[in-house]
Symmetry: C3
Subunit: 353 residues, 3 copies
């Protein structure tokens, strides 16, 4: 009679990670029209391309693609049991690229490699850097990104693995963008139907946009979303244990905040139909049920895509706050983040030219 612990996954602790380790993650997941509907209902996204088959087909997609961030969250979710079950905090993202469109019917799997480890000075935890790739059923990578996460040690006395911190790009280079965006027939892109006349060329570096609207988050909503992604991180679901935790409450999955901010950004960036890259991102402060999320964007850069005159890229800093409208673009107070800021996200998005 074997002991129960052998069957139950306890997750890796900091001392279990080594640079060079690779992991194939469970569980494969077929994304379909039902997932797209739920994603739509959870965030209220209005970008025309993932919303309507006719619109997507008119400009060159075979069918309406799955929302980029839904694919990202599903890939991310698979990594949790292997990487962040014992995480204290998800610290950042870098070098994220969308490589192939994901369509209803595609099945996603994921694999990760450890690319850095660094013990904290208190020796109770350390930072683990992983590069994760999501694949479709043909084995093609559809998304790739680096994230780093602070992970508890099982045993404070355990020797730390040799420190290694990867060099990461500040941003994905423009020539690496667009792999997941088929050639777009801009003449067939109906700007009125998409909700805004503003093309790539209408945005200027330094421009800031208040996305105006706010949305209050409910416990049922973030739990339903996070389970849709098969993300099992305990802090999102277990009020019994979180009542004794750091915050006394369930913590909302950071990806939920990202998707809320992205949906809000429609009001001002309606034609930014595709997220092509995640340059970086920080969950600056926790979000809880009952909080109202607002967002604003700054255009950090604009770049044409080498060899393409159909779409152009905008590098956008997407900032989300809680319980504070963004008409004055809150971000910093001195060296620190303004206290209402919950997300500081840096992406490349594509718009028709």
């Amino acid at each position: 009679m074997s002991a129960a612990p052998s069957k139950t996954a306890a997750g890796r602790f900091f001392e279990d990670f080594r640079v060079g380790q690779t992991m194939r993650h469970a569980t494969p997941r077929t994304l379909n029209a039902g997932d797209a509907s739920l994603y739509s209902a959870l965030y209220g996204s209005r970008f025309a391309v993932p919303s309507a088959t006719t619109f997507a087909q008119a400009i060159g997609y075979p069918v309406a693609p799955i929302d980029d961030l839904l694919a990202f969250h599903v890939v991310f979710g698979k990594t949790v049991p292997d990487i962040s079950l014992n995480a204290i905090a998800n610290l950042g993202y870098a070098d994220g690229r969308f490589l192939k469109p994901v369509y209803p019917g595609d099945t996603l799997t994921a694999a990760s490699g450890v690319i850095g480890v660094k013990e904290n000075s208190n020796r109770q935890s350390g930072v683990v850097f992983v590069r994760t790739r999501g694949f479709n059923q043909r084995g093609e990578a559809v998304v790739e990104y680096v994230r780093w996460v602070m992970v508890r040690k099982r045993d404070v006395e355990a020797p730390a693995p040799p420190t290694e911190v990867p060099e990461l790009p500040a941003a994905v280079a423009p020539h690496d963008l667009g792999a997941a965006c088929p050639p777009i027939d801009v003449a067939a892109y109906d700007f009125e139907l998409a909700g805004s006349p503003h093309r790539w060329g209408d945005y200027a570096k330094g421009e800031r946009i208040d996305h105006v609207d706010g949305v209050t988050v409910e416990e049922a909503e973030h739990q339903i979303a996070t389970r849709l992604y098969q993300n099992t991180a305990k802090v999102h679901f277990n009020q019994f244990s979180e009542a004794q935790g750091r915050f006394g409450r369930r913590l909302i999955y950071g990806g939920h905040v990202i998707s809320l901010a992205r949906a809000l950004s429609f009001n001002g960036l309606a034609n930014a139909f595709h997220v092509a890259a995640i340059n970086g991102g920080r969950h600056v402060a926790p979000l809880f049920a009952g909080d109202t999320v607002f967002a604003w964007s700054e255009i950090l850069d604009a770049a044409p895509l080498p060899g393409r005159d159909d779409v152009g890229a905008l590098r956008v800093r997407l900032v989300a706050t809680k319980n504070r409208p963004c008409q004055d673009f809150p971000l910093r107070v001195g060296e620190d983040y303004e206290p209402s800021v919950v997300l500081d996200f840096d992406v490349w998005v594509l718009l028709p030219r």
Copy 2:
């Protein structure tokens, strides 16, 4: 560097409307099986035709149609950014007709024309009348209705557009019903499986039906529903701003109440499988999360459909209340509505003969 307001939609104010204006609304939306499942889970509808492909096919549909009200809400949602972003209240509906069935895979778009404007005597707002049409991907109108809405002025001093109030029919005429209902093979309509033996001829003018059951509404539910319809009206989602508003709370989308009442009406009107027309409707009082909705119906009229012996129409007054069962059919106290009444809705529904 352009200023942010140029990119963000502020919505039209009362003085921006003129009779004759037309608008094509964003965002196109493909409705699929996932939307039908969500609609089912949000309201618990049990009408057999939209619930089961086999049932629908047996009586003459090519597949199970999308619920009539789901199509209505999706069309309605598209109009919000152009018409009612600055609305104070959604005042009424008239002349609503379902013109073609909507099937999974169909993509809906919407367009509206302004058919009336009337400034309020306080000059702070006015009433705007619009006729909205929803279209499928072949450009066929699937639903059409008039609604009127009270809209804030941007500038109280702004001159009002010339007053014009449209004449609207008290009810859709029977000969205008049924366009969205294919010929039904009544011999193949399984009344036991549908949940009731009562046909069109079993209902009599003046008959009143208490739908008995009650359902309590949660914030997460109405938010998920309203986002499913891509309806962005601020009052439904933003507790931060609504805390300082009229009610101190998020207001539930009136269409959510309509769908709850329609689902409750199954218990007593199980074979009313199709909503053919919306003669009129008033959201008499606001509904909030935590309230329990009850409903009752009165048969206002019964009419055969010219040239059809498969189905007949019942004109039904569908009344919803909050926190008050309906065994005594609450509606009026003197000239006023009974205080628990939240919805007074007037529809034509079709039943097998």
Copy 3:
């Protein structure tokens, strides 16, 4: 002008049941990918077979099947208006067998026969035993089970039907298992992708597994789930009436607890991809919104399937608790259930050999 009660279903009371009665239940329901997505989002299930078409096809399914318990709940839901609308408590299950896989696109109907009745000594209620079968659109039984339920009498003075209590098996026999599981190509079953290396032979009778994780339930979640199953039992939805009821609160559908426990059991039983039989089950105590559900399992038995060397069966006692982690496997205190226990469920599950 007919009176309203004739149109509204009041449900059967105890004195309305007779052994031998049969009922065909409304409403037929087509299950599709949207229902599978919602089920996934409501419970976070990670079993690979219903999650991914590729995984299911690799081992021998034509496509990913609908989760066994989703099919069960949909069949169960149909029986409520005919059997348990006036129920005081759902007392138990027995002899439940999954007979055919259910695939997206299948339409389920249900029929029941009364197999036992027994008035309670207080004469105010009685126990009704029914055998229910769910069918697909080809008329093939997909699931069958017995449940018994305590039903109110309409009239305490009404004569009771003759007492008859059916003999029910303690467990489904191994040779009756597996009809809903096609031949599995175990060589193609990717244990790493499924999330665990443990096969049927790795589990031993008497082994106990703490499933570790806990999940807090919200009102919106259980209401959405229960409506997805078209289960109309009043106690789950109507806070207005339940405020004056036994508990002062909405009671969560017992099947919601079963599905939560099943999803939690992935952590320890990841390859138990199919529920083949429900030997028995008791909802030991009510669950309410805000409670956190934990679960543990005991392997009661292990059996090969006659004539099959691809899969083997484990008889598992799946216990769910509220607001109490399960590391010490809570079940009994003397004769009584430990006060935190909400579910004592006895199933056969199949795993690859």
